[in-house]
Symmetry: C2
């Protein structure tokens, strides 16, 4: 997606440890026009899949999931990190290891909101090793729902999450793929 790729090249910042900071337009301060275009693009790629739920994990996936929902006319279900008093004990749960935050989170969804008949599109801002997507896929499987695919804003193509998922037959659509990063340079993979 050209608009996102241009923005990453212009405003993305690379930090040690393969951290790509896009907080200026995607996951802290959010450019609402870019967000809208991302939603439109995801909807265009999955419009014929009869998606019934758009799933993500709090927090930074929510904006992108809602932007897609606006154009796909499907509800958003976001998995929550850890249990709160507002969530029923009747939950599906999965463990997600975050390398960025250096911790493991339990993510949950209320069983009432994820059903065997659902056709689920997983959405997230980043795909690196695939831990978050795997956690969401586990929730989808537990519900007996159907996974339609994954829509990712930025894939780190030099980590193996995306390649492994595709090798397993999961449809992964990444709007931008970072081929390589060093402290000075950032190269995007050419996509059709």
């Amino acid at each position: 997606m050209q608009l996102l790729e241009e923005r990453i090249l212009r405003d993305g910042r690379v930090y040690p440890g393969n951290v790509l900071k896009v907080g200026g337009f995607l996951n802290h301060l959010i450019d609402e026009r870019l967000l809208d275009e991302i939603g439109k693009e995801i909807a265009a790629r999955f419009c014929e899949q009869n998606v019934t739920k758009i799933m993500t994990i709090e927090a930074s996936g929510i904006a992108i999931a809602c932007a897609a929902a606006h154009y796909m006319h499907a509800p958003v279900l976001f998995a929550k990190k850890s249990k709160t008093s507002n969530v029923s004990s009747d939950c599906f749960s999965a463990q997600v290891v975050s390398y960025t935050h250096n911790n493991t989170a339990t993510v949950i969804v209320d069983k009432e909101y994820l059903l065997a008949g659902d056709r689920v599109l997983i959405v997230d801002d980043f795909l690196a090793n695939g831990a978050a997507v795997r956690g969401l896929m586990s929730l989808v499987n537990q519900a007996g729902a159907t996974l339609v695919g994954c829509a990712i804003a930025i894939e780190k193509g030099f980590q193996n999450g995306g390649a492994e998922l595709r090798a397993e037959g999961v449809r992964v659509e990444s709007l931008a793929i970072v081929e390589s990063m060093t402290d000075d340079t950032l190269t995007l993979r050419k996509q059709k």
Copy 2:
């Protein structure tokens, strides 16, 4: 806002401890049509305020902030809970006590993204005692930005956050106000 009020009365569930569960349409599973109407309504109420940033706290405020942003053509800035390696150390921070989660969180925003010239609209899903709004107001003050007002989906009118803010001259627009809740009943305040 009639659509939201009707939905609360139909699908909201009251739990002991004044917990109103709206996870079926607002803050776990999100009805994208309702969300869109909420965004439209917030935009209509604040359209003449030249809002430059729509601020919220992760996670459940993000969807509503993005829906408003879509119609207000302003970016969303969401305060993050606790520090991650993706956020610069140059942050404004504030403490927020959550009675729902029974903890205190440090919320932060990158100083780069909240500026003295900003006209800020605070958005959140719930207003009860006002702790989250107070935390966001502190961040706005630290930046020297201007607070335009607060747009809340559901205010618990029997708690004092909204009344106190209005008494201080803060413009608080709540799309639905719960007047009282018991285990069996939920009464909404009549609004013009």
